[in-house]
């Protein structure tokens, strides 16, 4: 192979070159900004994590798996996964092979940004060698893969249902421009390389096209225009990229190391949050997942639009969207890039201004004074915290106590005569400092009790005890875990009934604390469990969640109904749940019995 032009340059590379330099500068500035905006402690943590060999390896693996191969989408929707990874991985391979070719055949041009991209234009083939043909084949092969992905993408625009998406995102104008230029890039590449295949060589795709062009269609002199078109499409795509959803391509490469370093979102539009916002690919998988989507009017409150309006600094819309959400966490769970939607919303909520702020000094004097003596238990014993919600569903605490008595466990109930809230509902409203105050008060009472196990029957309390409390030497257990443990140790035995029940995963217990199996294995001791249509990490929020601030009673009832229908798919006799709030919400609308986990267990003690 040899170069066709001494200068190694042609004017048509300019659009591409402009776009490429622009996007590189933009990304470097953006990345620096995000890192500067991190709080100093997080920045240090991030820097350290980059140099830990284990973490660095994980970063590389994750970048390959998530940015190029899109394994997460493959697992959910294989066809969608193929579409994404064919474009991403195929394009990546085209770039890499282009560079390798340049290193091999024109090593003095390796510094030029445009040279590997337009390699076929600048080079001329003298004789076909095996190595050359191998590269030609690879290039055509990956181009074919990308083209298949692009045709799937075009098809998806019109019939997204076939690829497993019921609803897709409404795109912005810039998104459309970038989308069409992305679609144009690869067919134009095929045409341009086809035009030059007679001079620069080609393989199974480009040579037949060259033959067609040469014999039937066009004058060979026209090939200059097709290269211009190819470069223009690339230039437009790269120039518009920062203002469109395609920004997720570079942003995700930064997000993955940040996430692996364990950095949390603290403010709604700074640092980590910014990395998350730009990493949102507006794919719209969250739209189908969102329980609010049952009503068409509420589709506008899904995460994909939150990131869009946060990016645009639209305060009114961002507030509306972040306050509406139920915080069930399903969108974050299925998000292919891992946008922490609940954290973003919480950060936004925490930035709201209130004229009247709460303070809980009144709790200093007399919390739990009624049962202060009772609270003292000897070392290694259980302290049971029923939580606010359980006092509205007294059957739960009664059943828990019955089971504890049966097992002969020494315990004491912390909030028998009315206790303080765990603080999570307060935290969900964004009042983080006030929540901290409550957390301190509770920590004091619980640590002083001398217990070694804190038993909670409410997933809302459980989650905050796990995530935000620091209870030294005290193990926090949800009653599903604890009773499963007791049953395993045969401290309580149950009799098997002939009931056919379905178990509902409460959001905070399942997606929040990843407890899916303990309640199921405990329940399988007393009944036959039938699966719901969507369960475990895909379970649908009951609609009663405290996460939402502004969702109306009416809208909630639609969600509850939808969630019940999802559970009823295998016609169970009873719905079992392990959350007082779900219990209360379902009981309002369900046509069959809704029972609490502890209640059914205590009814079946042998």
């Amino acid at each position: 192979m040899k170069e066709r032009f001494l200068s190694g340059y042609d004017n048509f590379v300019l659009p591409f070159l402009f776009g490429m330099i622009f996007i590189l500068v933009y990304c470097i500035i953006g990345m620096t900004r995000i890192i500067i905006q991190l709080p100093p402690r997080d920045r240090k943590k991030f820097a350290i994590s980059l140099f830990k060999p284990k973490n660095a390896l994980k970063n590389i693996i994750d970048i390959f798996a998530d940015c190029l191969l899109h394994l997460k989408i493959w697992k959910r929707k294989p066809l969608l996964g193929y579409m994404h990874s064919s474009i991403a991985f195929g394009w990546f391979m085209l770039i890499i092979i282009g560079h390798i070719e340049t290193w091999f055949y024109a090593p003095h041009r390796t510094g030029l940004l445009y040279y590997p991209v337009f390699f076929r234009y600048f080079m001329e083939v003298e004789s076909y060698s095996l190595r050359g043909s191998f590269f030609f084949f690879l290039m055509d092969f990956f181009l074919l893969i990308v083209l298949s992905g692009i045709s799937l993408a075009i098809f998806k625009r019109f019939r997204s249902n076939v690829l497993g998406m019921r609803r897709t995102t409404k795109l912005t104008l810039f998104d459309h421009i970038a989308l069409y230029s992305l679609w144009a890039i690869f067919p134009l590449r095929l045409i341009s390389e086809g035009f030059t295949a007679g001079i620069s060589g080609g393989s199974f795709l480009t040579i037949p096209i060259n033959w067609i062009f040469a014999n039937f269609m066009s004058k060979p002199e026209n090939f200059e225009y097709s290269w211009w078109g190819y470069s223009l499409a690339l230039g437009v795509f790269l120039t518009f990229l920062p203002f469109t959803r395609y920004m997720h391509i570079p942003a995700e490469i930064l997000l993955i190391p940040l996430k692996n370093a364990g950095i949390k979102v603290r403010r709604s539009r700074k640092g980590m949050a910014l990395a998350q916002l730009y990493s949102c690919s507006s794919c719209g998988l969250c739209i189908d997942a969102c329980p609010m989507g049952i009503q068409k009017k509420n589709l506008q409150y899904t995460t994909v639009y939150l990131t869009r309006f946060l990016k645009r600094r639209n305060k009114k819309k961002s507030r509306e969207i972040s306050n509406k959400c139920l915080m069930c966490g399903k969108c974050a769970e299925i998000c292919p890039v891992g946008v922490a939607a609940c954290d973003l919303r919480l950060a936004y909520r925490s930035e709201a201004k209130y004229n009247i702020s709460q303070n809980y000094t009144y709790l200093d004097n007399n919390p739990f004074s009624l049962q202060e003596k009772e609270n003292k238990v000897s070392d290694g014993k259980v302290i049971y915290y029923a939580g606010c919600m359980s006092s509205l569903t007294p059957i739960i605490s009664k059943s828990v106590i019955k089971l504890l008595d049966k097992a002969g466990v020494e315990y004491s109930q912390l909030d028998k005569e009315g206790g303080i809230c765990c603080g999570r509902p307060l935290m969900l409203t964004g009042k983080l400092n006030e929540a901290k105050e409550i957390i301190e008060k509770n920590t004091k009472v619980i640590s002083e009790s001398g217990a070694s196990i804190l038993l909670v029957s409410c997933p809302i309390c459980y989650r905050i005890f796990k995530e935000n409390y620091y209870l030294k030497g005290i193990k926090v257990l949800h009653y599903t875990e604890y009773f499963e443990k007791l049953a395993k140790e045969e401290k309580i035995t149950f009799k098997m009934g002939d009931g056919k029940y379905v178990y509902h995963d409460p959001c905070d217990l399942g997606r929040g604390c990843k407890i899916y199996e303990a309640p199921r294995s405990a329940l399988s001791r007393i009944c036959t469990l039938v699966p719901a249509e969507k369960e475990k990490k895909e379970s649908i929020c009951c609609g009663g969640s405290l996460g939402s601030l502004t969702l109306s009673y009416d809208d909630r009832s639609h969600i509850t109904q939808h969630s019940i229908n999802n559970l009823m798919i295998n016609s169970p006799e009873k719905i079992i749940t392990a959350c007082p709030l779900c219990l209360k919400t379902f009981a309002r609308y369900s046509s069959i019995d809704v029972k609490d986990f502890a209640e059914v267990l205590s009814d079946n003690i042998s």
Binding site: N355, I356, M389, S391, L426
Partner: protein, 109 residues
């Protein structure tokens, strides 16, 4: 004056004309539900903060509508926003957000 062993409170009549309602109207715009409250008191009965201090959402709402918010608004400072009142409300009022909206709209010195 003769001591009868009891006294009569001063008049509690409210003069609507004197009342400055603009904050209430602002609140009503964001929370249309304030007028559907039937003052049953379920919220107050279920309130966990009410065990320790005076916290009476029913009273707060009534006093807002009567232009007497100064006397009761500071009660909201004790609210733990646990949402129990929200669950028990027979009228389906979103009390939790109502409290937040009051905290945004009104001010206490």
């Amino acid at each position: 004056m003769t001591d009868f062993g009891f006294s009569i409170d001063s008049s509690k009549a409210i003069t609507i004309e004197d009342q400055d309602n603009h904050l209430l109207e602002m609140l009503h715009e964001i929370e249309p539900d304030i007028y559907i409250c039937m003052a049953c008191g379920s919220c107050t009965a279920s309130c966990p903060a009410g065990v320790f201090v005076e916290m009476n959402l029913r009273k707060v709402l009534l006093s807002l509508q009567r232009g007497m918010e100064k006397e009761t608004l500071k009660q909201l400072k004790s609210c733990m926003l646990c949402g129990k009142c929200n669950i028990v409300c027979p009228r389906g009022i979103n009390t939790r957000n109502l409290i937040l909206s009051i905290c945004k709209t009104y001010n206490v010195q």
